[in-house]
Structures are given as C-alpha cells and as structure tokens.
Symmetry: C3
Subunit: 348 residues, 3 copies
C-alpha cells in the first residue's frame, strides 16, 4: 500500500516538517531503508544515522534535532508510531484465499473459528481447534487435538502433528514440520530401541517460523517456543528444548535436546548448541559457533568451542601472529648459539 | 499406556522387590529417566547410576546388587526384558487413521497389503507395492515401482520417488524426500550438463528417518541405509552413499557422494563428510566436525579438518596456551639481550 | 536408454575406432565413469586420465593421441558431441504422468501451456502462467501470478509462493520452498516487528534446485538465481541474495541477506556467508567455511573466518607445529639459564 507522508502523519497524529506529498511505499530500519521508505529513530545512540539514511522520511521524538533537508514527522513515541505505520502499510498486496475449500477433510469434533480460511486438500484430524481468522494454505496437515490460535497464518505443505498448541498471530512458512518425534533411543543388545516421544510442542503468540524448519515434540512435557520469537529457515529444534521470548534464531541453527534458551537471545546462522545447556537472557551466539557449555546472560559467544567473543578474537589474533613468533624464536635460537660459542671461545 | 509395576513384572516374568502398585507411565535410559518411568541396567559399568537415577523402577540382572529404597525387577536378561516393556508400553496414545481414504489416487497394478492405512490426497504411482499394515499419512507421494515393507509408517507430506525400496517397520517423518536426483554434473563448454541419476535408494528394516531429511538416489546402483540406522532431522545424504547398520546420524549432518559409513557409527550434529571416504565400524565423529579423510574403525574424530579426538584436544590446548608462550618468548628475548649486553661490557 | 557405440558415433557424426558393438548405458565425467559409460576429453590437461578411465568409450578431438586398447570416437568438438550424447541418452527410464489431473485446482485466468502435465492435488492460484510441456508433480502449490517457463519440471510437494518467476527447463526437487518471506524485523519497544517482504524471486533458465531448499523472496526487488546455476539439497538463500550464472551451490550452504555471488562460483557443502558481501566470478569457497568478508574474483577461500586457501593452510601448518615450538622454547629457556649461571659463576 502506498500513502503520502501527509496521510501517514495524520494517521499517527504526528507533526510533519518537509514535503507532505512524498509517496511512501514501505517501512524499514534506519540502516536498511531505501528511497521511498519511512523509518524511525528511537535510540539517540543512532542519531548520526539521521544524516546518512536513504529513507524518504524519518519519525523522530519531539526533542530530537531534525537533520537538514530530510522529511521528518515528530511523534510523542516514535517506536509506537512506527509500529502503527507498519500495520497501516501492511503487506498490502497479498491476496489470500477465503472460506473453507470443499476438498478440506475435517475430522470429528473439529472447531473452526469465525472467518477461518482453509485451502484445498488440507487435512484436519479429530478434535483440532482452529481459531478465528486463521488462514491455512493448501496441502497442510493438522493432527488431532492440535490447537491453532486466532489470526495465525500457515503457508502451504506445513505438517503439524497431533496435540500441538500454536498461539495467536503466529506465521508458519511452507514445508515446516512441527511435532515430529524427538530423536530418542536406548541401546538394548546393540540395537537402538525407540523411546516413545509422547510429549508435545507449545508455540507462543506472535512467533514466526521460517520454511522447512523442524521442531520436535518432547519426550514428555513440551518443547516450547516463547512469545514473539522469530525463527528463520531450516532451523532444527530438538525435543524438550525451551526457547524464551523475543529471540532471533537465524537460518540453519541446530539446538540439541533439552537445551534452554532465555529471552531476547540471538543465535546467528548455522550455530550449533549441544543438549542440556542454558543460554542466558540477551546472550548472542555468533554464526557457525559450536556451543558446548552454558552461555551466561548478556554474553556474546563465538567460535568452536564457543567462548566469550573477545577471548575468541584474541585467540585468533595469537594464531594470526604465529609466523612472527616462529621467526622470533628462530632468531633467539641463533643468538643463544652465538652466546654459547662466545662463552666457549673464552673458556678455551 | 500406563501399567502397574506388578503388571510389568508379570509380563516379563521378573522378580519384583518394592512397591508393586507404582504406576509406570513410560520407559527411558537410566540417565534420562524421570519419576514414573522404568529403566534398566545391563552394563555393570553404569551400576553407580542405580543410586542416582530418578526412575521409579529399574530392571536389573539376578546378580546385580539392588540399590536401597528403589523398586527393582530382577530378570534373566535385563536388556531383553526392557525391549519387551518398550513394545508393551508402546506409544500408546497415538491414534492413526484407518483404511484407504477415497481420495487416494492409485496407479495401475499397485499392490496394497492387508490392513494398510492410506490417508487423504496420497498419490501412489503405477506398480508400487505397499506392505501389510503400512500407514501412510495425508499428502505423501509414492513414485512408481517403489516398494514399502510391512509395518512401515510414513508421516504427512513425505515424497518418495520412483523405484525406491523401503524395508519393514521403517518410520519416515514429515517433509522428508527420498530418491531425489543426486547432484551430478559435467562441465561442457563452461556449462554444467546434468548427468542422469538413474540409480535408486534402498532403506533397510527398522530404520527411522527424521523430518525434512534428503536422501538422493544413486547415479547408478543404490544409495543404501543399513538396517536399524536412525537418522535425525534435516540430514543430507548424497548419491551413492552407503551407510551401515545401527548408526546414529544426528541432525543437520551432511554426507557427500559415494562416502561409505560402517556399522554402529555415530555422526554428531552438523558434522560434514566429504565424498569418496570411508568411516569404519563403531567410529564416532563429534559435532560440527569437518571430515576430509577416512576415519578408522573404532576411532573418535573431532575438529576441522577432523583428526583423532585427543590430538584435536591437544591442539586446542596448545592454542589456549599461546598467550603464555608469547609472554615467555618475550621474557627470553629480554634475557638474551641482557646476556649480550653483559658479554659486550666484559669485552669492553 | 542403451545404444551401441556405432549408433552413438553416427548420431554425433564422429569417427569410431574400436568395438562398434559395445553397449553404452550411460554418460559420465572421465574420472567418475564406470564400465558401460561413455565420457569425453576436452581439456588436454586431463589427457593422462585417458589411460586410467574405466569408461567403455571416450570422445576425443581429431588431434588427441588415442590411448591403446580403448574405444574412441573422434569428433570436431568433443564437448559439443558429449552434450549431444547426454540429451540423446536422456534419463530414459523415467515415466511421468500426463495431462491435467481432474483434481487440480485452477484459479482464475491461469494460463496452461501446450502439453503441460499437472499431477493430482496441485493448487495453482489466480493468474499463474504455466509454460509449454511443464511437468508439475502431485501436491505442489503455485501462488498467484507466478510464471513457470517452458519445459520446467517440478517434483512433488514443492511450494512456490505468489509472483515468483521461474525460467525454462528448470528442475525443482521435492519439498523445496521458493518465495517464502525474508527474515526481516525491526525492533520496536523490545519486540521484533515484521517488515513486510513484498519483493519476489527470479530464477533463470536451466537452473536446478535440490530437495528441501529454501529461497526467500526479497524485501523489495528480487532474490535472483542466475541461468544455469545448480543448487544442491537443504541450501538456504536469504532475501535479496543475487547469484550469478553457472554456479554450483553444494548441500546445506547458507547465504545471508543481500549477498551477491558472481558467475561460475563454487560454494562447497555447509559453507556459510554473512550478508551484504560480494563473491567474485570464478571464486571457490571450500566446505564448512565461514565467509565474513567479500571474496575477490578467482580466489579460493577456506576456513573460519574464511581467507585465501594457502594462507589458511599455512595457519593450520603453524598450529600443527605448535608442540615443536613449545618444546624448542623450553629448551632455549634452559640454555639461557645455563648461560646465566655460567656468567654468574664467572662473576663470583
């Protein structure tokens, strides 16, 4: 959806300075914004970006000094105003199917909420509960007694097994599997006997799950994804993992069984975590790290095995300087030989 | 399913000491067991765990000393007894669809075994053979002339291409792809020309394959997964790979083309193996390792490039001690200069 | 398909020396070829392989010296001749469904090309354009206004979202997701607000995409895969990534947002690339590398963080020699102490 800056200023009850007629075509972060987009400044730390952002307009607080030659809207709370604009602008162009396709196979005692839209060839087993305005795309499978909260959006060919609980306004991208059996075996006479995985998965409100993600059900209890956490494509979440709120789990991360992740944690791409450890609130694990021990709250860990970021960098620097060290030791060896020879000469 | 300890003792013809009325709700390994679960001790090495396990009951041999204040069942062969209990307790609560859904699209000359249950919108191409009591969930695709053995369970949205052979009692989780073309090209005038992948895939009995796994068909011959091997989610198995029996392949492992894995091998999460190498029986490759050369039988390999575990640890220890080495060399340099100066003083 | 060497020689108008009756069952590279296959030699650098290849026949240029006791066909341009044979031999044995299955759900204004074959339970939304002789297997989803070029082949359970453009003769393997939302959020008051991903994906002619791959749509603009590029299984391609022509992207590679890859680039298995960097034409990134900075054209990068291959190898060699260095420094320390003691003795 496109709106003029004037329309946006009115919608958020902000005070506009600049070209009211500028057409705004999207929203973005202050660093990533391109021409045509509106962004915002909430943290004064980023004020220098006001001068360099390519955004066509910036929402700033009443106290912030406006950059010269930029369109700005002043608002009481720029963050809140920006959130309002995001929902105002919306994805806009996405058309979704409506109603229940005649081919949908509904089990017994399935509850369908108001305005739910279920696409062709979806199978919903007995006792499942689908909330209001849920959209399920074609080819999805919803197992028995699974609950899907209001406003949730499920893209094509998603498989959600039985007794899973999914919150409100969740987005699940195509090909994702939720509630598959955890990887649990016990060795009996040299063979791996399957340990029944009879727990489930609970996904909080406002979670987004990328494409071809796998989230295993718990052996007992629940695998849990906290409210507002965002998961990228091809991520593996094993049984009994507990992830807190507002985390960012980037593509191809793997989290082993029974590991607990706090709130606001960032796990960067391809990081791997062993089982039965804890990652504290606000911690960051950098890309491709191999985390073998618990990570304290607020820490930034890197490398393999993962350790504090600066420690890891220092180790890399030492390794980087090894050629010089080898040369120096060679030189010292020579000097010692010279000294030894001189000593010997005197002894003679 | 829940059973009293008394019922379990009777079923395995064991000798019960303790509270016969305790309700057992599940089975587990001695380390992982929680209250309500039954476990077993087969290897005397783990006897110390008898005192610390949280299990509500333990199966032990006639000779093992029972821990105080624990419920035990003595059996001739605790491993066999435990295997019996696993199948006795079963997953218990899982309801599966029955019969052949009217929407199933069956090709010509498809053989359907007794008691097979095929869910809605499954497509089975010409000449496929589906064994007795096979369960196929909705949305699966079974290519022509593919054979699926008795008692195999295939979860929703699995794609199995043509001429694949799958054993008995195999479990395939959702989203998995078996028999896709191997990644094979030959460069002709600067372009990658596809080399036809006309082989197939053969999967042994009692194999379990996780969600969103990919197993490519061979160029010729067969990609093979041996009997009893268990594969976790998001694993990549390239064309012409041969995996032995009773292996554990943990999530996000990648095995390149024509690599051969022995029996009882463990490949931990996110490990990567290059093509055309061999991993011997009973070998272990630790998480995130990059294996570029063959691994001998019984070895434990780690790191990048992967090498024997202790060698890799030693290398890490040396790197860890680099700061001290740099300091020491600096100190020695100073001492040499002092010695040189003293020598010079005397010469003067 | 099988052909005699004579038939093949005639088809490419080549000059045959050897056993005209040999039955050729397949094509392959000179290194990988097995008995029964035909291969070719274009680059004189590989001439030594003529003597060792297991191929049953080799296409060589008019000038190349034929190896003794091998069947050869001489052709003006061996590469071109070989490409002709590949299409002549074909996959041969693959039977595909024909026509439009009555269960296919077609939206409004969908254009279906001549000879298109659409399998059961496929959903094609409004305004999609399906080219001539396109084959779409069962269970696929094609979003609205998506275009699929002539001769493209899409295996079962593929999900292609709205407004995506796919070229001619493209192959997409099962479970793959094209056009899912990019992973884009902006933090507003401590919560991750979704940034609408309203761009699309454009895939060039002759691209092949493996199984369970994920390719996200751009935030604006397009995520682009260039003509002739081949992508293996379980690869992650984030929003706004641009990949050039004739690249090879091996299994489980992850490419972060807005990164640009040149032509003829090879990214080996499990490599990870951060966002907003550039990989130059003809560059190679080795397996499991973590690429954090741009890679120049023609370079070979390895390790974590990735750097020039030989530099990385040298660093590994230094680390490998650390035990010796520690020993040497210990020895030098001893010698210095000896020298110091001798000095002291003399002073006394």
């Amino acid at each position: 959806m496109r709106k003029t800056l004037k329309e946006i200023a009115q919608a958020i009850e902000g005070e506009l300075s600049g070209d009211a007629g500028v057409l705004i075509t999207g929203v973005s972060g202050i660093r990533e914004a391109v021409s045509g987009e509106i962004t915002f400044l909430a943290n004064p730390k980023y004020a220098p970006l006001l001068a360099t952002t390519a955004a066509s307009a910036i929402i700033i607080s009443k106290e912030t000094e406006a950059p010269p030659a930029k369109n700005v809207i002043r608002a009481e709370n720029p963050s809140l105003a920006f959130a309002k604009i995001i929902s105002l602008m919306g994805p806009g162009e996405t058309k979704r199917h409506k109603g229940i396709d005649p081919s949908v196979l509904l089990g017994k005692a399935v509850k369908l909420g108001k305005g739910a839209a279920i696409g062709a060839y979806v199978v919903i087993e007995d006792g499942a509960q689908i909330g209001d305005h849920v959209v399920i795309y074609p080819g999805c499978f919803i197992g028995y007694e699974t609950k899907i909260g209001n406003g949730t959006l499920i893209y094509p060919n998603v498989s959600i097994r039985e007794r899973v609980s999914i919150g409100e306004r969740v987005i699940v991208h195509s090909g994702t599997v939720i509630g598959s059996d955890g990887f649990g075996f016990v060795e009996v006479n040299g063979k791996h006997q399957k340990i029944p995985q009879v727990g489930t998965v609970e996904i909080g409100d406002d979670v987004e799950i990328g494409a071809n993600v796998t989230i295993d059900r718990a052996r007992f209890d629940k695998t849990i994804i906290g409210r507002g956490t965002k998961i990228d494509n091809l991520v593996q979440i094993a049984h009994n993992v507990v992830i807190g709120e507002n985390c960012l789990i980037v593509a191809q991360v793997g989290i082993s069984g029974s590991t607990t992740i706090g709130n606001n944690v960032v796990l960067a791409g391809q990081a791997g975590l062993v089982g039965h450890i804890t990652v504290g609130d606000n911690a960051i694990v950098t890309a491709q790290s191999g985390v073998s021990k618990s990570v304290p709250a607020g820490a930034m860990f890197a490398g393999y095995p993962a350790r504090p970021f600066h420690e890891n960098q220092r180790a890399h620097a030492y390794v980087h300087n090894l050629p010089k060290l080898f040369d120096l030791v060679k030189e010292l060896k020579k000097k010692i030989e010279d000294l030894e020879n001189k000593m010997k000469d005197r002894d003679d």
